[in-house]
Amino acid sequence: MIKITDLEKYYKTDELQTIALNKLSFEVKEGEFVAIMGPSGCGKSTLLNILGMLDDSDGGSFIFNGEEVIDYNERKRANIRKHNIGFVFQSFNLIDQLSVFENVELPLIYTGVKKGERKKRVEEVLEKMQIMHRRKHFPQQLSGGQQQRVAVARAVVNNPKLILADEPTGNLDSSNGNEVMDLLTELNSQGTTIVMVTHSEHDAKFTHRIIRMLDGQKVAENTLV
């Protein structure tokens, strides 16, 4: 599903250039659950943003679903993104002004799904995430665990092939964290590919494979299953 080869990314300021990704190569197969680990600043989030087509790379190749996307423009990338990729963030990134239902509905609006269909699908996924009773609430009225479940609901509502999760349990206590990890595992078991950036060895144990990074490079890879 994902194949990156010699991927590079630099950050430039006036005086110096920092290498965020240094000729990074790896592959993620369809249906895999992969954890990316490493110390802060090793390039994990940068990698995730490039995989999510939110950010450009400065060199290398990125094949998504058999398609070279490295040179795609913003419109093409947005199009692939909205049909294929769901995001889960550490800080949930819900829109405060929108209710739970509206937050989850958002990706469906942008993919042009009809209103009736949207309602059905949002309710289905809310049901699945067990937050249906909270659908009229606003994010600030929910606990952290509930907010992250809403975020996961939003990430999966479009039935994406790939979920990119950036420290999804980072802001949660252990029981809420475990709930979210169970959710992700369940999604994976239903066929969704997941790439997760995490600091937590505990969370990493839920995955099939761990890619360890340091200074923008892959330094180790452990297969768990």
């Binding site: 943003n49 999510g52 939110l54 950010d55 913003e74 419109r75 947005a78 993104r81 909205k82 995001f87 963030f89 800080s91 990134n93 819900l94 829109i95 405060d96 002004q97 958002l106 990706p107 942008y110 993919t111 939003r154």
Partner: protein, 813 residues
């Protein structure tokens, strides 16, 4: 100070809006001060009154005239101990020659009593005699007119000649009467001189005959002669009361006094009263017939006040708004200070100090700006101290309010939450800002609609079919040196014959008035043949020749034109359509051949012309008669030239040559008739200019406000935009999302503005007898303009936000 520099755009928006608002405030307040201060500069001005005339005739006609009978002020002076001085004043607009050929036109020349300078005290700068206006050949002239006429030479004892050929010597030079007076006076002569010259000047030889036996008889208010002068010869009457005398003391005695004089029959049968007008009220509150010149009115002052209030409101709201926004952004900063031991009062002081600095800088910029405006528009105006005080008061008030509102809003928000919530919770707290921006935009849209409406009325007036055609028509004053001269017809005939020979002059006409110029004669003594009682209306009486209607393209409705007369005198007259009902004639055809009595002459109506606008569209068309009579009783006449080609310069230089040969003593000065007509709208245009500038200003400031809000709003929604993009939103979807937010307020503002502007513009249009209708497009245009400009000002910010990398946005906490 640091925060001012840090947020350059916001600071600039705040300062420039306020500075413009303060500058407009100062300028317009000075303008109102100027309008309100008319005639207040005279010594004892509160004791000086103009005695106007209010007569209801038995036939129902009512005359409310700024002029009065000569006997009025004389009678009051003789009979009432409260009256310490009086003067009558007859005004003439003349051309004056300084001995060489050079002439000055439109000179304000008054004949008055020697007591003029007792009532209207002026500093006498130079004088030959101690008794002003006692010398029959002497005149007093104003300082600036002396300079105009004689340059830097000493004017005393210099000779000047007026158009009749009368020569006077300058006896005295008086300090100029300031421009904010209802009286415009360049030269003052005595009535005594007027009567002497009228009796003893030989028009044929253009010389004054010496008459050592001449005795001037002081007019006697107890004689009927003083009470039957036709209106055009009546003077303006003024009295000065003993200090502090209430005018009611005089008013109550008038009826008794009038019973002592032998009033003519018509006045006796009618109801005659005097209307005492304090002189400083004349400019704004008096709008009688025969005013010396067009006055201002309180309605325009009211409009100015409204404009000041509106502009100031928009600017101040803008400032408060932007200030609140920047202070909300500082919430975290304030919270940290509170946690580190600062008190609320200290925080308020900080906000207040910043607010004062902004206001101070704005005032510093506004002062020179206002100064430039005042110098350009209202030179020689001294700014009253109360204006400075009110500016300071406004600065203090704005500073305090602009500090208090954000302070209270952050207090309400809770300082403690400042650290936790960052920028997120604020959204609910700034509804008041939206309301204010909506108010700003409402006002702006009202101003745009009013400006467009006034512009439309201006266009309507300019494009209206005035019933005459002034295109390619030029006019000059008739030669002043020829007034009263027996040679007039001969010279005029020669002039006309020579012009006839010029192929490019398609028509030449001579008349006592032309469209756009004052009709000096209003006749209320026109009556049906054989009937003693005149028609109940007064008629404009204009003397024309056989070419007048051709020169001005006026159409005949019935009958025929006046015929050529060798000496320009005949008993045939034309009337306009409006005169028909006034004379009780059913239709134009019936009028032909009817004989009416004008004064003591029987005249036959030979033609009826279609109505045309002799005066501006402010006033309805008056019933008018057009006589043929070259003797215009001292008043100024006009020569009009209609040209058939575009090369006006060449033709006019040929006419100038003809003129110079015939009237060598006098310069030929000409103007375009259309331009002269348009000058009647100068006041409206000025007003429209003020309104247009205010509307632009309000629009600019509202946009600054909107832009500030946009920046803040976008900053607040950065994360949301990021999330939406990650969820698949395109750039255009984001732009639409952000813009719709602003559009909502502007549309709301538009809905509020509609009825208010409809009311305002209709009130303003009431001033015009002929007015445009306010089409729907005026309202549509204003809405579209406001929306377009609002969108243009926020779209760039929206675009920038929509194209930002969402990764950056999502990093923001």
């Amino acid at each position: 100070m640091r925060s001012i520099i840090n947020k350059t755009f916001l600071s600039l928006a705040k300062i420039s809006g306020l500075a413009l608002g303060f500058a407009v405030f100062i300028f317009l307040t000075v303008k109102i001060q100027y309008e309100n201060s008319y005639d207040e500069f005279w010594i004892d001005s509160e004791d000086v009154y103009r005695v106007a005339l209010d007569v209801k005739y038995a036939n129902g006609e009512e005359v409310l005239s700024a002029k009065n009978f000569g006997g009025a002020s004389e009678l009051l002076d003789l009979e009432l101990p409260e009256v310490i001085s009086y003067c009558n004043l007859g005004k003439d607009v003349v051309t004056i020659f300084n001995g060489s050929k050079q002439k000055i036109q439109d000179v304000n020349f008054i004949y008055t009593d020697p007591t003029f300078f007792d009532v209207f005290k002026r500093k006498i700068i130079k004088s030959e005699s101690t008794k002003l206006l006692e010398n029959i050949h002497g005149v007093a002239i104003s300082e600036s007119f002396a300079k105009k006429l004689f340059g830097n030479e000493d004017p005393i004892n210099k000779e000047l000649t007026i158009n009749e050929g009368w020569k006077f010597v300058v006896d005295a030079v008086f300090e100029d009467i300031p421009s904010h007076s209802h009286m415009k006076v360049d030269v003052v002569a005595a009535y005594k001189s007027l009567f002497y010259y009228m009796q003893n000047f030989d028009n044929t030889r253009q010389v004054l005959i010496k008459n050592p036996n001449y005795q001037y008889h002081k007019p006697d208010p107890y004689s009927q002669r003083r009470w039957n002068t036709p209106v055009q010869y009546r003077p303006y009457s003024y009295i000065k009361l003993k200090k502090g005398t209430p005018i009611q003391a005089v008013e109550s005695k008038v009826a008794g006094l009038l019973s002592k004089v032998p009033l003519p029959y018509r006045l006796k049968k009618g109801d005659m009263k005097f209307k005492f007008q304090p002189i400083h009220d004349i400019h704004l509150k008096s709008n009688l017939s025969h005013e010396q010149s067009a006055n201002g009115n309180t309605k325009q002052i009211l409009f100015l006040y409204i404009i000041i209030a509106v502009v100031l409101f928009v600017c101040v709201i803008n400032f408060i708004n932007l200030n609140t926004i920047s202070n909300i952004e500082q919430l975290k900063n304030y919270s940290i200070r509170i946690f580190n031991g600062s008190t609320y009062w200290q925080i308020f002081q900080m906000i207040l100090a910043e607010s004062f600095i902004f206001n101070g800088i704005a005032l510093f910029i506004a002062l020179p700006l206002a100064y430039v405006l005042i110098i350009a528009e209202l030179p020689s105006t001294k700014v009253a101290p109360y204006i400075f005080l009110s500016v300071v008061a406004i600065v203090v008030l704005v500073s305090v309010i602009a500090a208090l509102i954000p302070f209270l809003s952050v207090v309400k928000n809770g300082f403690a939450s400042g650290l936790k919530i960052g920028k997120q919770k604020i959204s609910q707290k700034w509804k008041s800002q939206r309301v204010m921006v909506t108010a700003q935009f409402s006002i702006t849209i009202i101003l745009i609609i009013c400006t467009t409406g006034i512009y439309k009325q201006m266009q309507f007036m300019m494009a209206s079919d005035l019933g005459f055609n002034g295109q390619q028509t030029l006019y000059s004053f008739s030669p002043m040196t020829m007034n009263q001269h027996p040679d007039i017809p001969n010279k005029l005939r020669t002039f006309r014959n020579k012009l006839d020979a010029l192929s490019d002059v398609s028509s030449f006409s001579v008349s006592s008035s032309i469209p756009g110029q004052k009709v000096s004669r209003l006749n209320n003594q026109i009556r049906p043949l054989g009937v003693a009682e005149p028609f109940p209306t007064s008629f404009s009486e204009i003397s024309i020749d056989d070419n007048y209607i051709k020169t001005y393209g006026i159409h005949l409705k019935a009958g025929k034109n006046l015929s050529v007369q060798n000496d320009w005198i005949s008993d045939d007259i034309l009337i306009n359509e409006t005169a028909l009902p006034a004379m009780g004639i059913a239709n134009a055809v019936d009028a032909i051949g009817q004989v009416i009595t004008v004064g003591n002459k029987n005249c036959t109506i030979v033609g009826v012309i279609e109505d045309y606008h002799h005066a501006s569209l402010h006033t309805p068309i008056k019933p008018s008669i057009y006589t043929q009579n070259l003797h215009w009783n001292h008043s100024v006449g006009y020569y009009s030239f209609q040209l058939s080609i575009k090369d006006i310069d060449k033709t006019m230089s040929q006419i100038t040559q003809i003129w110079n040969a015939l009237y060598p003593k006098e310069e030929f000065i000409y103007n375009f008739s259309e331009a002269s007509f348009a000058t009647q709208y100068a006041r409206d245009q000025k007003f429209n200019q003020i309104l247009t500038y205010s509307a632009c200003l309000a629009l600019l400031i509202s946009c600054l406000g909107l832009l500030g809000m946009a920046l803040f709003n976008i900053k607040k929604r950065v994360k949301e935009i990021g999330i939406r993009k990650v969820s698949g939103a395109t750039v255009s979807q984001i732009i639409v999302l952000l813009n719709i937010d602003f559009l909502k307020w502007v549309i709301m503002a538009y809905i509020i503005a509609l009825p208010m502007s409809w009311y305002t513009i209709n009130r303003w249009l009431e001033d015009f007898a002929y007015r445009t209708n306010m089409s729907w497009w005026v309202y549509g245009f204003a809405g579209l303009l406001a929306i377009t400009i609002a969108l243009a000002s926020v779209s760039w910010q929206s675009y920038k936000a929509a194209t930002n990398n969402p990764v950056e946005a999502l990093k923001e906490e």
